[in-house]
């Protein structure tokens, strides 16, 4: 982001799932004009790798910021939010509990292993007894690289259940039911952010991260359903 004569401009690259929270935070961010661009964390990482000039990178995982940090493309990442996984089902669906997922014929959609939500889902399944895990994986009909695709299928009744973040479920509020996961199965879903190397507004970017951790940004995240970083 360049700096004009007046208020500096901060360019924030945020993961799609942060659209609501960071959108609101950016609007009220004091002392700088915030422009936020939301896309898949992987796409944002690719943009940074290709040299796109931005100030803050807020990912839906910790792996991409860590990787970019190793490549010295971003500063040291900090975890700024956590999330929970849950199961969404169609409002009139057959799945009412986790146990129902093992029923043969249940159509389950999960995230592609290459996206964080997919990796976490596998972590959850890994904590189940081997037979249950196998039964559920057998029922997996699709591994979606985009959460929208998971939600569209559940909301559209094409799938009987899907594993998504609690925050994602809100985008289809009213069109799906949610089945929470017991705490013992919950993975540690952490969102990390970092200042992009070579940012021309490093101070403001740092201030933006601070706000995410302790200030208005944190509140906005909480309101959107995210959990505080421990």
């Amino acid at each position: 982001g360049g700096s004009g004569a007046g208020e500096p401009t901060l360019t924030v690259l945020g993961a799609s799932s942060l659209t609501e929270a960071l959108g609101r935070y950016g609007e009220s961010f004091p002392g700088a004009k915030v422009r936020s661009s939301f896309a898949g964390s992987d796409q944002l990482a690719a943009q940074i790798e290709q040299g796109a000039r931005a100030d803050v990178f807020a990912s839906a995982d910790t792996a991409y910021p860590a990787q970019l940090h190793r490549e010295r493309l971003v500063g040291k990442p900090v975890v700024f939010a956590r999330n929970r996984l849950l199961v969404v089902t169609p409002p009139h669906g057959t799945v009412e509990s986790l146990a129902d997922l093992t029923e043969p014929g249940t159509r389950i959609v999960i995230g592609d292993p290459s996206v964080p939500v997919g990796a976490y889902t596998r972590e959850v399944l890994g904590r189940l007894p081997a037979s249950e895990q196998a039964a559920i994986l057998d029922n997996v009909r699709s591994e979606e690289p985009e959460v929208t695709a998971v939600l569209a299928k559940v909301a559209g009744g094409a799938a009987d259940a899907g594993f998504v973040y609690a925050t994602d479920a809100r985008t289809v509020a009213g069109q799906v039911r949610t089945v929470p996961l017991p705490p013992r199965l919950q993975p540690d879903v952490a969102y990390a952010a970092a200042v992009v190397s070579g940012s021309s507004e490093e101070e403001d970017a740092q201030r933006y991260l601070e706000g995410l951790l302790h200030g208005a940004g944190g509140a906005d995240l909480r309101e959107a359903g995210f959990l505080p970083p421990r």
Partner: protein
């Protein structure tokens, strides 16, 4: 073809099937969106802004596509040179790129670290995260549609018309502007409609190359995507889609009317 023959009925069935199959999903979107939601979608500041940006960027992209593409197509249509068919195939390749790959390709070519990144930066031209970048992405994905139609239209020109213009003292530009373009107009308009339609729906390349910044690079398809990620966003995304469809249909029909072959409606030839 008589409709009341075996094949006639078959063709009728095929046509009905094809039309129903292509139209039904579009209709389904409207069925899912109440008229009230449609108006609400238009009422949202960000939606209006995205539509307006889409309109602006696609118009600029179309101006560029036509201004550069029409003379380029004219030349490619009329000149025979070695490797011509290779060139014609090459300019169609962007058609097959999956959208994200198109975005990556643009980043690799014109991004800050891309092949021409240094040259562009030297010229003070920034594209990524800029409205200009949206235009570049739109031109990249839509130009092939215009070019191939324009080349076909110019190639179908009666070469004697151009020769007649020359014997009447018209230089190459005048022949192009007053003879070639008017004669090729229906084909050019069809190509423009197609390119414009494609540009209005463009998503992946824009997102990767230009980002999704409200008011700057967030066009309507990106706003639709963004809406998906907001609470209750599914319905507002569909409503915005419906608006985009109406806009696109208007443009498609409008451009086609513009290109309609008026000569065809001339009085019948009587002697």
């Amino acid at each position: 073809m008589r409709l009341r023959s075996g094949f006639g009925l078959l063709a009728l069935a095929a046509a009905a099937l094809a039309v129903a199959f292509l139209v039904l999903p579009v209709v389904a979107i409207f069925a899912d969106v109440s008229p009230g939601r449609l108006l609400d979608a238009l009422g949202e500041e960000s939606a209006r802004e995205a539509l307006w940006l889409s309109l602006r960027t696609t118009v600029i992209a179309m101006v560029l596509v036509v201004a550069v593409g029409a003379p380029a197509a004219y030349l490619l249509a009329l000149k025979r040179f070695r490797g011509r068919s290779l060139v014609l195939a090459a300019i169609e390749l962007p058609l097959v790129l999956p959208p994200a790959v198109a975005g990556i390709a643009l980043l690799a070519a014109l991004g800050p670290d891309g092949i021409l990144g240094g040259a562009l930066a030297g010229a003070g031209l920034e594209l990524v995260f800029q409205t200009a970048g949206v235009v570049v992405a739109l031109v990249f994905v839509s130009a092939p549609f215009f070019l191939r139609q324009a080349i076909a239209a110019f190639a179908a020109l009666d070469p004697r018309l151009l020769e007649a213009a020359r014997t009447l003292g018209a230089g190459p530009f005048r022949a192009f502007a007053t003879v070639a373009v008017p004669s090729a107009r229906p084909g050019l308009a069809a190509g423009l409609a197609l390119a414009w339609g494609r540009a209005l729906g463009e998503f992946g390349a824009t997102l990767l190359f230009a980002g999704s910044l409200e008011g700057v690079t967030q066009t309507a398809p990106l706003a639709i995507f963004s809406a998906f990620n907001r609470p209750g966003g599914f319905t507002s995304a569909l409503a915005l889609s419906a608006v985009l469809i109406v806009l696109a249909a208007t443009i498609l029909v409008g451009v086609k009317l513009l290109g309609a072959d008026r000569a065809v409606e001339a009085p019948p030839q009587v002697r």
